[in-house]
Subunit: 303 residues, 4 copies
């Protein structure tokens, strides 16, 4: 039995909220239908950019159902299913499996961060993968978890028959290389988790990405790998470098609220963030829009 093979870009889908804080289910479903018209390889539902930390289990389930229902044919549906405890992660992963998730992206537990040694993480992911009805991917995102999985743990876990890969969101290209080396020879797909490293990741041999930027600029993210695979490394790198400031704006500088402003600007439903996140101010929205306009102008000029 072999794993589904993911090539290309998936968005960690934003969750639009209404002003009263409820999930905007219609806006969400419409986003998926719009993304279906692009070259995206699939969808990650309930990832970090989905404000999953603020969602109840019922809401997460509803978003997964809508994703499965609306995703275009051939699009991979991956669900974020990590919880802090091993038993809850297994339970929720299998609940998502039965609703149609094709793979599970499982966050490194992080609250007791100094206890999350390689030994603890290897045991955690092994138990989860042993029990999961769908293939599991490790989700490494120290920016949020302050836990950074080590190459020795990746080496051990890459051998597990139900662990299909990992998403590394550090943007640390030497670390990606060390993970590639650690899992060499295994059926293990490493996905890069930030557009700030998308082109360099391709250059070192990575084939897939889950990118916040793909929410608002799916075509541009996709064009990086399309140009690369067509042998136009120059153009691939040009698009990457041109979109770099947009990515910085919708992640590091303005956060999820900024990403939602960008989505609104690009014809998707960004909507409100959920408290305690704060919505963008009008000035912040303008700043995001200007950065987008500048990048798009440069992309056209160099096309």
């Amino acid at each position: 039995v072999s794993f589904p093979r993911i090539t290309g870009v998936m968005p960690p889908m934003i969750t639009p909220f209404l002003e009263n804080g409820d999930v905007d289910l219609e806006g969400f479903a419409e986003n998926v239908r719009k993304w279906n018209k692009t070259g995206l390889a699939g969808y990650l539902v309930n990832g970090s950019n989905s404000e999953t930390a603020y969602l109840t289990e019922d809401e997460k389930i509803e978003l997964l159902r809508l994703t499965v229902k609306n995703a275009g044919e051939g699009r991979h549906v991956m669900a974020g299913t990590g919880m802090e405890s091993t038993r809850e992660t297994i339970r929720f992963t299998n609940r998502c499996a039965r609703l149609g998730a094709q793979s599970a992206l499982v966050l490194t537990p992080c609250y007791y961060g100094s206890s999350m040694t390689s030994a603890a993480l290897v045991e955690f992911f092994t138990r989860v993968a042993d029990a999961s009805e769908i293939p599991v991917l490790i989700y490494n995102v120290p920016k949020f978890t302050h836990v950074n999985i080590k190459a020795d743990a990746v080496a051990a876990l890459s051998k597990h028959p139900n662990i299909m890969g990992m998403k590394d969101s550090t943007g640390d290209v030497p670390q990606l290389t060390s993970f590639l080396n650690a899992s060499a020879g295994q059926d293990f797909q490493i996905m890069v988790g930030t557009a700030s490293a998308w082109y360099p990741a391709l250059a070192i041999g990575i084939r897939a990405a889950i990118l916040a930027l793909a929410n608002c600029h799916p075509d541009e993210c996709d064009a990086v790998i399309k140009a690369f695979d067509a042998g136009s490394m120059e153009r691939s790198r040009e698009i990457y470098k041109t979109m770099f400031p947009v990515n910085t704006a919708v992640t590091a500088t303005y956060g999820i609220a900024g990403l939602k402003a960008a989505c609104d600007r690009k014809g998707y439903t960004g909507g409100f963030v959920r408290s305690p996140l704060l919505n963008s101010t009008p000035d912040e929205r303008l700043a995001v829009e200007k950065i987008i306009a500048d990048a798009e102008r440069r992309l056209l000029a160099t096309a």
Copy 2:
């Protein structure tokens, strides 16, 4: 209307688990009944040392019920009620209020840590305190959350009529001083959250503590403030310094598993940790027991 006044020490109660991973409810209740025989000022249920990150809401509720039912007269019952989202924190806080919690200890949200600015935290705690049916305390524990609330936010929140104080677990005494200065003149109780700073905290005017060490050594923790209030600063400091290595062992060095080993050793029910935490090895248990024996011998020698 005035807040309940807490003077002395409360344990952030451990949650004993059975080998199969279920909560040992009987062990937990028995612990409370044993602690009732000490000078502890009250109980914190569902704190960090309770492995709360690994508990389901049903389990948290059951632990709160057992605490309310078993707590001796005059002992304050505080419940950890923080969730990542504002709306869930409010809902769960009021659920706990109705079950008998006298105050709510609310963790700083932390997943989107770089977005947890003073503005965001002030809005979060204000909304929670506005809606809460019981007094609220801010819970600041960067060791786990990687968020460290600033003095300007404490200054603003200390004025809220339903925020009774905070627990600061950094052990950073200059920071405690800055919080005392920031909240000067307000009805705002600052509790220190680590035995590594218990005596210095008393020296700068703090009156209460929530200490992991109080799970296994409630009398020694209590003796620090009792001696201090009796004017025996020398003895108070001596107990503090003697217990210091035990505290290091059951927190920084051996974590919650080590704390549970210490509880087992002292006649309480420590029990198993829940996965992905790893249980102590026999060598680690011996090391903890030796450190305890050394400290107890020195305490006797200097008494």
Copy 3:
């Protein structure tokens, strides 16, 4: 043979510069003569607040000569003598010894920080102390060095017959306690290196301090220990808490330039900083002066 005993406060003396960047030797000497009229226990020349990193060896020597010449009777003269290499540290320490320094404050080497393990630091300080003609103190200041000496190294070094103590500038009171425990029974004087922890340090049994704040407010720093030793803990704490914001201003917020502005304001010669440090703007000087005025008003009001 026993070590000189230091009780009370020493300033890590600022080095005033002229606008052209030369050392203002006259201003420096005059500062020492003014400080002689206060209760300061001695002087540290060529410490971090002296902008020593920017001084040539000739300049350091000249400042030491002026200190030895101008220091009032009974005032301890300590010289910062740390260099990155062991051999240079020994050479320079003994050069300072011959010019009249009574003790040497030796910085932890730090450029190759990850190599500065306990083993490396124990060997470094042992070699230096073996060869030094004057008693040696360890200088631990992670804020500048990003190296934080561990309790095991302190335990080993506290036994050396030519190491008289250490200055710990972290402000980490639990760490100070661990150092007190580690050196218990040895002739080893621990000095606190920040006014943000001066009163708590006294409370745990420390007897001396080297405080940036003592450059501009020597009497207030001295009053904290004087009141403490007179049994007026309340007043000691009051002065500490009142001066706390001034200390924050002249260290964390406005740095050495801010400290110099405060010195100018208090009748000492602050002077210019040396490039690449930037001088205070007029607004920054006003902010420092306002914080000082507020604190002095409160001190009077509570006296």
Copy 4:
């Protein structure tokens, strides 16, 4: 007037010491003569891997003289000339210029790290470049300095007519991209400062590197760019990935002592480190040698 153009790899040359701690000048000169037989583009003398922090000015000058004297024709000679103060940096830079250094690599000042804002760094490098008789490169190495220059400062400094580029040793490829974007359109050469990012740096358009690994494996480092420029990206990447563990060993894991062990193994004079660095143990030397042997075997197998 235009800058010398550097394409390819330069070693930050190690400084071999004798057992008594003196510089092994003969060993050093012989190393240069051996490296002349490789494809190295030039030499960096008095960089971080030269243990420059432990060298006196006389020793640095002697090493520069030997480099100038022994460097093969067409090899660029760059000298590390950074000091903490602006005035000393200028003086020493020009002293090196007169002895034949073709460019100066100037470290970001770092002791007062929190004061090293973009404004301070821009002023520092501008003053140094204004006064320097040779072109200046910015040296950014947060691993040692804990200062990380920001893109806005790089943007400003890249316009200076006497700043020819920078060495960035973070290995942070997204940051390298941001620096490329910030200096776009300027005559500004960005050199990567770690072999862990050599191939990805080439992929994003960087043309030169200063690599610790080039001390012991100059040919392999050079082969990465040679293969790349020949259009064999696959082979370039293969060499990079194969040498990756060797680089980790001689930097992060075993430090400069490990790098020297590797140099000894490869026929260069590694020699002793200077105290307070500790020499490699026999076990550590064996570990380094095994990692080298494994990599060399794999390189051959895939050639």
